[in-house]
Subunit: 244 residues, 2 copies
DNA sequence: CGACGTATTGACTCGGCTCAAAACCTGTGG
DNA sequence: CCACAGGTTTTGAGCCGAGTCAATACGTCG
């Protein structure tokens, strides 16, 4: 048994990692086991590409640790980030019907993931009803998040978008005072929110003045969550606890 | 037989209208018939609301004629348009799992539609595999379109967004010269593209100068489709025939 | 014709982008 | 421990695209 440090050797481990995923909720054990059997383990270094937009797709992925940036780029090198996927999420599964990836994907930092054959997913989708229902459910959630992005880009200014981003990091906001660690670079957050790093910096400064938040490097302290919500969500179509 | 002018009386007619929809592709005849039986016919006047964001949902709809604007609005009345649905499309079906509508919907002009019970859809989703696969497929398409919106909002300027909008109206562009009629008001197009009417007007003027297009009221004549594509798509992540 | 909704044009403001420089931070090797 | 190199973040100055407010043209329908 190659137990410690090498989960890739063990279908048993992969099984335990796959089972909690939302897409596998209520799905037949045998099917999950089949996926686990076929799973390969892989580590990406920071900045390493996982796949390229329009590449023919043969695998989808489950992130175990780290972050992956999904983006598309124009001919002259500008990029639009469509998603930054956290650990515990599935990635690239939307290629199942299209046959090629709709975005490029790159590791933001050192990242562990499971590699799974897309063909297996396509096959399972043909027969497993629950699986398809779960996929549909996930895509609806994703769609709502995208809808929110569009609203924010056209209605909110830079400071409000940052505020909204911070609010979404406060899941546990029964407390009015929250301290949290930014999940990744400010530069990357800026890109994610569709603005330049300089703009991010300045907008964050005004956000500090307007609402009572304080920053110490990558650590934000929000003294009054409600004030932040009032400021950020005033131009938002969703009322505060910006539901996912 | 109430044949002409009153398709709402006839389940036979509804059947013929539902069958060509992408979601019903390959679906059991009996199931389609069940939907047709339950279908009600309705006409909306221009400007009439179909449903409101966050309303409990009991129906979904199939547009037969006209256009419906889907949007959400902020507390102070600004609105973000998320979609403008053409005839032949389904509407409000995403409420099946959530139980309430995620946007408001309003008729842009006089609009005919079929009203169908959402409960029937939910039931069918529980048992009919093909239907769920079709729904998933449709949502993936929709998601790609939304992704494109996000890119455009963050990368393209006003003129390029308009150009891209026009290009998407030229499905049949083996010909380099195309004449087309704008599907609805310029004001509405402007809102759809996330800009003010004034900006739209000015941006369209520069687009005329830059590429060889001409406008006569709501009729656009594109003399050189390729030139328009070169101008509009230079900041786009998709190469020209901006696939749907 | 007059009235209303739609479209354009003008003058001005302002948010965010660009280019450039400085301030920080973090890790590395002497 | 310090010096240095690399990346990240901040600050500054100037510019440009799009929003705003206001006025004017254009259509169409009564």
């Amino acid at each position: 048994m190659t137990q410690q440090g090498m989960p890739h050797r063990s279908a048993h481990h992969a099984d335990a990692l796959l089972r909690p995923l939302a897409v596998f909720d209520g799905v037949d054990d045998a099917l999950i086991a089949a996926f686990a059997q076929a799973a390969r383990y892989r580590i990406l270094a920071k900045g390493q590409m996982l796949y390229l937009q329009d590449d023919p797709a043969e695998s989808f992925y489950v992130l175990l640790r780290g972050w992956v940036k999904c983006f598309r780029e124009t001919f002259d090198g500008k990029e639009a980030i469509t998603d930054i996927v956290p650990a515990g999420q599935m990635l690239g599964d939307d290629a199942a019907s299209r046959g090629h990836y709709s975005t490029s994907a790159q590791a933001v930092e050192e990242t562990e993931l499971l590699v799974l054959p897309l063909a297996l997913l396509s096959d399972a989708m043909r027969t497993d009803h629950q699986l398809v229902l779960n996929l549909l459910e996930q895509h609806l959630l994703h769609q709502n998040r995208q809808r929110r992005e569009i609203e924010h880009l056209s209605l909110q200014n830079a400071s409000q978008r940052i505020g909204c981003f911070l609010l979404r990091l406060c899941h546990d906001r029964q407390d009015s005072r929250v301290t949290l660690h930014l999940p990744y670079d400010k530069t990357l957050i800026a890109a994610r929110l569709g603005m330049q790093p300089e703009t991010f910096s300045r907008a964050l400064a005004t956000l500090k003045k307007q609402t009572g938040i304080a920053m110490d490097g990558p650590v934000a302290t929000i003294t009054d969550v409600d004030a932040l919500a009032r400021y950020s969500c005033s131009e938002c179509t969703a009322s505060f606890p910006c539901e996912d």
